[in-house]
């Protein structure tokens, strides 16, 4: 899923400093699962904005709404009635896809992102999320014992670790495992070094990644 975290309160407060009426919109997709922008987080942010405005003696109405997803036009359409209530701004609590969809559909609205979108990853445990995919557009994790050196190596190295690998950790931080250490260890433990690990990876074609510019998928069988 997409992992995101809420922007610092100070920044969000700045967004609404000169506003009288705002709408905070959550998303029931990835950001609900990573506890960044679901119904509960919308409630907390809305409450904090109201309290803060009260503290500063500012008039501020904060309404709350959560959409099924903000990355699908059919759900964005649900906001038609609410947008008609003349909000000074909409604060989207989805990943950065959401505020773009909302501002495209409602061009007259001022839309702010309330989250910083970080990466594609998963939960190591409740409250801890880690990056697992970089969306390179050409998945090759089967060559690496099911682990991705593109996303999990600081240099995205395809053919073994660099000199910065020491005691199983990466030189950038002791908190970051050297993925090549994990890959090599697993390959040796499972006895697959000779069979699955032998081929040297050819130069990776990055044109399917961001190097090819913004990407789009068209499924002719689904398009009306």
């Amino acid at each position: 899923m997409i992992i995101a975290e809420r922007k610092p309160f100070e920044e969000l407060k700045g967004f609404v400093a000169d506003k009288k009426k705002v709408l905070v919109v959550g998303c029931r997709g990835c950001v609900t699962v990573c506890n960044a922008g679901g119904t509960k987080e919308v409630g907390i942010l809305a409450s904090e904005l109201r309290l803060d405005a009260g503290k500063d003696g500012r008039e501020l109405t904060v309404d709350e709404h959560t959409l099924e997803r903000q990355c699908d036009p059919e759900y964005i359409e649900e906001l038609v009635e609410m947008v008609g209530k003349n909000y000074d701004a909409i604060l989207s609590m989805a990943c950065s896809v959401g505020p773009q969809f909302i501002s495209t559909r409602y061009p007259d609205q001022t839309v702010y992102p309330s989250l910083n979108t970080l990466f594609m990853g998963g939960a190591l445990q409740h409250g801890i999320w880690a990056e697992r995919c970089q969306g390179c557009g050409n998945c090759v994790i089967h060559n690496f014992g099911g682990m991705c050196p593109v996303a999990r190596c600081a240099k995205s190295l395809q053919n073994g670790p660099c000199g910065g690998s020491a005691n199983g950790v990466c030189e950038i931080s002791k908190e970051v495992d050297c993925i090549w250490h994990l890959i090599a260890t697993k390959m040796m433990e499972t006895g697959k070094v000779e069979t699955d690990f032998a081929p040297v990876q050819p130069i990776k074609d990055w044109s399917t990644s961001r190097d090819g510019g913004p990407r789009k998928v068209v499924r002719e069988d689904l398009v009306k």
Binding site: F9, K40, S47, D52
Partner: protein
């Protein structure tokens, strides 16, 4: 502001603080009427929105009272609550409000006198801090 009587909301776990409040009552112990108790089945049920809504509703201070650490009826509800309280205390600080307006206390069901002490201690603290800045606009 010496005549300031704060409004305090106490979220009390039914297995400890709420029972301790009962015991305080049975023992005829007096505690400040500023404290309004809200029963929760375990402090693990404490939601950050509970405290935020209490502040929105005009509370000057909020505290969460759970079991002594290691004695939670549901193993770690009080530890989870402590983390939420700490998170929200940090949020209060970011909003420029005294984090002391939100606290976590731990006590057992047999500590009726301690319940009374906590009620006095927190009420005195909030009296010193003054009315909640969140409602200053209304007071003006």
């Amino acid at each position: 502001m010496s005549d300031f009587e704060p409004k305090i909301i106490a979220f009390c776990c039914q297995y400890c603080a709420y029972s301790a409040a009962d015991m305080a009552g049975s023992m005829r112990l007096q505690y400040p009427t500023n404290v309004e108790i809200v029963l929760i089945p375990c402090t693990g049920r404490f939601d950050m929105l509970f405290a935020l809504k209490a502040f929105e509703g005009g509370a000057d201070g909020v505290y969460v009272a759970g079991c002594l650490e290691g004695t939670c009826h549901f193993l770690d509800g009080n530890i989870r609550a402590k983390k939420r309280v700490n998170y929200l205390r940090n949020e209060l600080k970011n909003m420029g409000v005294e984090e002391e307006r939100l606290r976590m206390y731990n006590l057992s069901a047999s500590q009726g006198p301690r319940f009374m002490e906590i009620a006095y201690e927190f009420t005195d603290l909030i009296k010193q801090l003054g009315p909640s800045p969140f409602k200053k606009k209304d007071a003006a």
